[in-house]
């Protein structure tokens, strides 16, 4: 199921809050509004079977976009089509083919055992008993649901609840899955579990998945494509590798020299005057520069957009006899901080 989004915008009107006596009543009848534009003209297309990460800082308009895609909020202008259907005009038919998980709240019945929630959802989506059994057996195995099958939802741990919620969202076999921060607040193990399940859904079952997250490991391990939203607009839409490259964060080389070594003047300058903003900014443009010298270990930052790894190694060999070398790719988390 593909997604087609054209120029969607969302404005929120909030009434001006009055001060003083009878403030509540006066606010109720007041006609003054503050207009806030949360999403400012976003367009993109998603093909069937894609796995997309949707990231951005808090308040950038991520959740608003997801809510417009799933038919919860009406866009102020623009158009959303899910598999050719408009989720606002034909809400009930469209949402039948969607699975939605909000990490912060549960779609299950709080006081009822997990399995009872599945019974209710089965009725709600008109899933046949045979399909229900087959799917639940499958999910129960993949997500280890059995251990809390009869526990009321309110007593589940966060990780268990998330697994139960994911199974619930997949119960009616939707083609398209929207996940709003599915790994929020989970420990490493639980995150790994969830990611494995999502990978299977995408690769083996061919589900189209769109996921928002603050955890860059989610993006790196799951999504081939990533979209970045900032202040209501898309600031990047492309491959995950491309995002990493476009920022051009330096790769770190840690070189241990055997015996004496000599660092050429123009690279060394960066050491002493690094704190000088003018010089250090001009140094950023140099292909490589030294950031730290400790005993016989020299740390070098290199921009691999300009020099290939071989070029850099050749340069370093010229400084002395290399004993050991250690290379470190830029951390994805840092990549993202650059984008925001």
């Amino acid at each position: 199921m593909n997604i087609e989004v054209t120029e969607i915008r969302k404005q929120f009107k909030t009434p001006v809050t009055r001060e003083g006596r009878f403030a509540g009543l006066r606010t109720l009848f007041s006609r003054d509004y503050i207009v806030k534009e949360a999403v400012r003209g976003i367009s993109f297309q998603v093909d069937s079977g894609e796995f997309i990460g949707y990231i951005g800082p808090n308040g950038a308009g991520k959740s608003t976009t997801i809510k417009m895609l799933t038919g919860i909020l009406h866009p102020t202008s623009g158009k959303v089509l899910l598999g050719g259907m408009d989720p606002h005009k034909e809400r009930r038919q469209t949402v039948r083919r969607l699975g939605v998980v909000f990490g912060q709240r549960s779609g299950l019945w709080w006081d009822l055992p997990v399995k009872d929630s599945y019974d209710i959802l089965t009725e709600m989506y008109g899933v046949t008993p045979a399909d229900k059994k087959r799917r639940l057996d499958q999910f129960a195995e993949l997500l280890d649901l059995h251990e809390f099958w009869a526990t009321p939802v309110r007593k589940l741990s966060l990780g268990q609840r998330m697994r139960a919620d994911l199974a619930a969202a997949m119960l009616h076999d939707p083609d398209l899955l929207f996940l709003d921060e599915p790994t929020i607040g989970l420990d490493v193990n639980a995150k790994r579990n969830i990611r494995q399940f999502l990978k299977i859904l995408n690769e083996q079952f061919g589900k189209t998945i769109l996921l928002t997250t603050h955890d860059m490991d989610d993006i790196e391990q799951l999504c081939k494509r990533v979209m970045v939203i900032n202040e209501g607009q898309l600031s990047y839409d492309g491959t995950t590798q491309g995002l990493r490259d476009s920022i051009g964060l330096p790769t770190l080389f840690r070189v241990a020299f055997r015996g004496a070594f000599h660092i050429p003047e123009h690279f060394q300058a960066s050491l002493s005057e690094r704190n000088n903003p003018i010089i250090s900014s001009s140094l950023i443009n140099m292909p490589i520069h030294v950031t730290k010298v400790q005993d016989n270990i020299v740390t070098v930052e290199a921009n691999r957009q300009e020099w290939s790894t071989m070029d850099i190694l050749r340069e370093l060999e010229g400084w002395g006899e290399i004993d050991d070398i250690d290379m470190e790719e830029p951390d994805f988390e840092d990549v993202i901080h650059r984008v925001y």
């Binding site: 929120f12 009107k13 509540g24 109720l28 949360a38 808090n58 308040g59 950038a60 308009g61 991520k62 959740s63 608003t64 809510k67 799933t70 038919g71 919860i72 909020l73 009406h74 809400r91 009930r92 038919q93 949402v95 039948r96 969607l98 939605v100 909000f102 912060q104 709240r105 549960s106 779609g107 019945w109 006081d111 009822l112 055992p113 009872d116 019974d119 209710i120 009725e123 709600m124 989506y125 008109g126 009321p152």
Partner: protein, 266 residues
């Protein structure tokens, strides 16, 4: 999804709710009996006064007990099936309404089966008051057995009216988010007012309770006919039509209100 499978969904919910409540049987029964006793204290307060002074403007203790019982049972019926309508504020503030909007059903029909409340305490209290007051009036020959089906009908139409009032009040939450204070007026205060004969109140208040917030149609108007033979036999029919109109109006208002929904957060 058709009506039939919706009802089977609802039945399922009722079954599972009862099962989960029954895990703590003793607590549940004790809590229900206590609730009944505590709620009856409000009637006791008035009953003591009536016991001392006789009647209020020609309304006997039994008749007022009847008014109490009918409105309590109507409210119980409404809250049993649509408690979440009354608690819409929780969904608006916490953003849980988002989740409901992703379901392939009209929002109201997804909201109602979110919980099913067993209000045994209210049933005990209302049922006891109704049997006591109707029984006493029957033995004195004031009413006969016909009053029983008419009363049951009044309780059902009353539940529809109270549901409509509750739904219309909840809908205002789409604009204001907070509705607790408003519900205090349209649901709690209005219901308390209707526990006594409306003729006690000045004209403006009794008209308000018959037309704007029509709680008077739940028990007072039916009681005029059922207990005292006033007005005429058209009363149950007209009350039923009025209940239908209230329901229609509040449903239309709800549908309009929901298009104004602004989800929380960004």
């Amino acid at each position: 999804m058709n009506a039939k499978s919706w009802f089977s969904l609802y039945r399922l919910l009722i079954r599972t709710s009862i099962r989960s409540r029954m895990q703590y049987k003793f607590n549940f029964v004790l809590a229900s009996v206590l609730a009944a006793l505590i709620q009856i204290s409000e009637f006791l307060m008035v009953a003591i006064v009536l016991y001392k002074f006789g009647a209020i403007q020609g309304w006997s203790l039994y008749e007022i007990g009847y008014l109490f019982a009918v409105i309590t049972l109507s409210k119980t019926l409404y809250r049993t099936f649509a408690d979440e309508v009354h608690h819409l504020e929780k969904y608006l503030v916490g953003g849980e309404l988002d989740q409901l909007l992703t379901r392939p059903l009209p929002v109201l029909l997804t909201l109602m089966p979110q919980s099913f409340r067993i209000m045994l305490g209210e049933v005990l209290q209302g049922g006891f008051l109704l049997c006591w007051s109707l029984g006493a009036m029957m033995s004195r020959g004031q009413v006969n057995w016909v009053s029983v089906p008419l009363t049951l009908l009044a309780i059902c139409t009353g539940a529809v009216i109270m549901f409509s009032i509750g739904l219309a009040t909840a809908t205002i939450g789409f604009w204001t988010t907070r509705i607790t204070e408003l519900q205090n007026i349209t649901e709690d205060a209005a219901r308390t007012a209707a526990q006594y004969p409306l003729s006690l109140y000045p004209k403006w208040l009794s008209s308000l309770l018959l037309i704007v917030i029509p709680v008077g149609l739940v028990n007072y108007v039916p009681a005029l006919y059922i207990l005292r033979g006033e007005l005429g036999p058209w009363v149950p029919g007209v009350v039923a039509v009025a209940a239908g109109l209230c329901l229609y109006g509040s449903l239309r208002f709800w549908q309009f209100g929901i298009t104004k929904y602004q989800s929380t957060g960004s």
